[in-house]
Symmetry: C2
């Protein structure tokens, strides 16, 4: 059976303006690769309802899982939860269990659970909460869309809470063969190797080290024995 | 007149597997922001023709400019140029001017211009070359799609070659106001500020410093005087 597929949706003007570099995609990509869920697409969209809703609908229809990051805090630009509800044409309101989590948290820290913070208890009907041990305000899953915070420490803890509950496949494994040959000299042999191992993904990543051209050849697949065979064949040819 | 809009398309399994962290998006985002071109969406897709072609067509139709990175080297997994040609239903072949650039370069470095390297001279009909002072193999623009290399040093030099030729708008400027208040306490006032300055984008980014909660409030727009007014109003309220 093929591995489940996934897409990531990053919501945030701060990435698009270049102010912030997105770190959540790389964290999720590694975690999914380890669990055998194939990340096939990433989108970054601006904090505009039409852009968020269209992306959620397209990705939810196209992939087994969609993971979002960003836009679920207490401020006016935090519109992700409402956009998800709209994308699924589902009502959204403050939910008792989410409110109870926040009430206990703010009572214990002596801060006020005001109207802005209460917005973080807005959860679409039918959603399942995602645990947030770091800052308590929960994420949620609705259908195949998993909605998480943008702050990296919170995003990471939500991914850790969520992933064990998802059906997974065979972990993707890889081996890298480092060759001091330019890509142009390796291209022919790599194409032949790729034809002989159609079950592997073979990527070539050029580098320059002290003026010498080289390429890291990355062999990826779910069968470690096949990867070892292909890596040995490549080394025998060039090392 | 509103600023031109743009999308970025990153082609690369190595980003989706988590092996590599994409650095080109952040570089392009900053360069576009400085030039008054609004980056509205980023997509990362795998090295699969159907995924690349669909993304090129969707983004080319939706935005004034599309910038791609990755997949234009000499190896079997470098399929971007052919996918762009297919997306535009345009023929593609080795072009004399691109071949001449490569021939001169490889002659001067004593390396062979073999069949694999010649693939880098495959340019869709009607495209304009993008200069590559770093490693010579050119990028190209076809319609509103600008096709560049994935290696960051080459991507950056191609962006520098390309941007001066594009119509641009008013540069986006920003001011950040750092407040030692949690987002939950700022949310009400920020919503009011956003209502008073509908021409500005006002984002809030929480942080924690030595146990104290705070928020960086980023005010963005094209009119520096309006941004200064809004920033002063915010400071007067909280500092």
């Amino acid at each position: 059976m093929p591995n489940p597929t996934a897409a990531m949706l990053v919501i945030g003007d701060e990435i698009l303006s270049g102010r912030t570099q997105d770190a959540n995609t790389n964290h999720l990509a590694k975690a999914l690769t380890e669990r055998g869920i194939d990340l096939k697409e990433v989108r970054v969209v601006s904090d505009e309802p039409a852009a968020i809703i269209a992306a959620v609908q397209a990705l939810s229809a196209g992939f087994d899982h969609v993971f979002t990051s960003g836009g679920i805090g207490p401020t006016h630009d935090d519109i992700t939860a409402d956009c998800i509800a709209q994308a699924f044409e589902t009502p959204i309101d403050i939910r008792d269990d989410a409110r109870a989590l926040l009430a206990a948290h703010y009572a214990s820290t002596g801060r006020e659970l005001n109207a802005a913070r209460l917005r973080m208890a807005r959860i679409p009907d039918g959603a399942t909460l995602i645990d947030n041990p770091v800052s308590i305000a929960p994420g949620f899953s609705l259908g195949n869309v998993h909605v998480m915070a943008g702050v990296p420490s919170v995003f990471q803890t939500m991914v850790a809470s969520l992933l064990p509950s998802l059906t997974h496949g065979a972990p993707l494994v890889s081996q890298t063969v480092k060759l001091f040959k330019g890509e142009g000299d390796l291209a022919g042999p790599l194409a032949e190797l790729s034809d002989s191992y159609p079950d592997l993904s073979i990527g070539s990543y050029p580098f320059q080290e002290r003026g010498i051209y080289g390429s890291n050849i990355v062999l990826r697949g779910t069968d470690a024995a096949r990867i070892a065979l292909a890596a040995d064949a490549l080394r025998a040819q060039f090392q």
